[in-house]
Symmetry: C2
Subunit: 390 residues, 2 copies
Amino acid sequence: MLTGELPLNSKAPTKFDYSNEPIRSSELIVQKDLPFNAEPPLKSLIQHYITPTELFFKRNHGPIPLIDGSTYVFKVDGLVEKPIVVDLHSLKTKFQKHEVAAVIQCAGNRRDGLANVKKVKGVIWGPGTVGNAVWGGARLSDVLKEAGVPMGLASQLHVAFEAYGDSEEDTCYGSSIPLEMAINPSNDVLLAYEMNGCELTRDHGFPCRVVVPGVIGARSVKYLSRITIQSEESQSFYQKMDYKVLPPYVDEHNADEWWDKMAALQEMIIQSVICEPCSGQVLPPGPVTIRGYALCGGGKGVDRVDVSLDNGLTWLPTDRYQAATRNKHYAWCLWKTTVDSIPDNCKIICRAFDTCGNTQPEFPIWNFRGVMNNSWFVVENVRQQSNTKL
Amino acid sequence: MLTGELPLNSKAPTKFDYSNEPIRSSELIVQKDLPFNAEPPLKSLIQHYITPTELFFKRNHGPIPLIDGSTYVFKVDGLVEKPIVVDLHSLKTKFQKHEVAAVIQCAGNRRDGLANVKKVKGVIWGPGTVGNAVWGGARLSDVLKEAGVPMGLASQLHVAFEAYGDSEEDTCYGSSIPLEMAINPSNDVLLAYEMNGCELTRDHGFPCRVVVPGVIGARSVKYLSRITIQSEESQSFYQKMDYKVLPPYVDEHNADEWWDKMAALQEMIIQSVICEPCSGQVLPPGPVTIRGYALCGGGKGVDRVDVSLDNGLTWLPTDRYQAATRNKHYAWCLWKTTVDSIPDNCKIICRAFDTCGNTQPEFPIWNFRGVMNNSWFVVENVRQQSNTKL
């Protein structure tokens, strides 16, 4: 089977045929129609520790492929002892099923904050391009063991993924992660066929997707068609000319000279967002509860989230919850703190620290692709109604 | 042998006997006499990619133990199949020798920047508590294999280290790292007996020390006496009540309530320092070369270092060199850029980004122990002599 070719019986649409898109929740904020890109409102997002599938952000680079699970296969090739072809049934029965609660965040989450500084390339996402789900599937490490990977060379090799279906910027969507990351079973890199206890929906990669906990969403390839062990990173557009932090002196005019100089992003960085209240909100008198999410990458934990009501002069502690599995933190952190009242005209600011001491920059740091914006999150113009009675 | 007891024939000093300290370079800036704590001047520090041993910062919590290498042993115990005792000769001959170029940075490097904000606890280090050496020794993973560790439980266990000799805050110096970090051979965690091609000096851990590349210096325990596999982190003062980033609302009055809530630091975070010119320097007219170091942790690379001459409004690129081994970056990065001239009264600022997109905060973020200061590094009051002639 050629790369990008759909499995037998799957509907092979004409290129970029958007007539078979799934139905989506009307609650989502659509940032781009075709391909479909949408995020949930922040208030809905943090109502659940495990994000309901319909509220989970949708990030696509082309039409959603219409794949027949009964004939679906992906192949494993490249620098392996024995190339294999795996169908959905054997993926489910031959390999032990593992579950991991993991947050997935698009590297472009909060791109709007950078677009406010200067024009950026990409969908202008708000701060909702993030979700925390329970993923179920086979461990990539188990599948790679079946094909036989050169373990002794693991630190020098990469696992490249390709997807079924059309994508806007390349022949198909592709991406890679270091082989060393893939073969460590405790990293819980999954070939997932379940999300939140149900079969994957088409929007989230049916019938099978990669889930790389602790890493930017771009590496968790949906509609998996092929896994290749190779000595270089994926040569896909999405690995080589996207999802990189370019320096501030690089824009559309000189970007081409810079792609090869900068690293392809992997591990997520420390992030925190205030989800309630939101800018401009008018609140009743009395105590105010400030809530939000925080996350970081690589299995590290969120060590703390601070809130400031005086422009960063002093900070308040927050209560937070972040699930852990075997000392790793792949799920997100939800946090809150209650204050007696909000001063008029104040900004509410949050910032977080990961367990290594990394924190967020105060101001947005512009980069051409608008990725990895994790500046202090600011909510403005919140007012409380007066409870003064005559 | 009891923990902390010196090997046979080693000189057992009376407690805190400082009469057998080694001779040190007079070039070092001594920050504390007893125990001896000193750092090199920045200008000397970056004259070499591999830091000469005599210029490498010295960080001690007690007198340097006087150990006889011919009778030296350390033991490996705890949750292992077979506790073992290893002497120096078998460490050198029974296990393959590995070398790794790795930067070691004290978590308190640049504590002076936080002490300027508010009183901190600890030696007031400048920005020279860092060095980049070639370490040679056995891999910890090989030694642990010999003792037999429960590999299946690796992600839930810890490797605790203890040191010979007295230490100020506990019965001996102790620290731990996650077992999972220790058993991955590509992390190159060493039981080192060589530094820069020579036997370790007493100041740097003779006869054997731990070297944990990519992690704060506090985990690279010198004068190794014992390695214990256990279900908890080290219970040592140095793991539990030190080397943690406490929140800004925590000081000497309430620190005790906070130690258990915060994570013991491991991976280093992105750091960059301007070493030339230095604040107050008067330079000749003509082009000025700005030089410094940068580093980060966990094997990640320094993706770029930017320099600003206009208070962070715009940034200039720099040339940089950072050695890599099998895709990991454990050595530091030296960088430079040349500008035509320095405007009068300007600040020279640097900031770096790691390959994940983490960067440094603009301002120092005070914490009681004064650790992990990686705010933008600023050089002030540099002037150039005028070349105007009448």
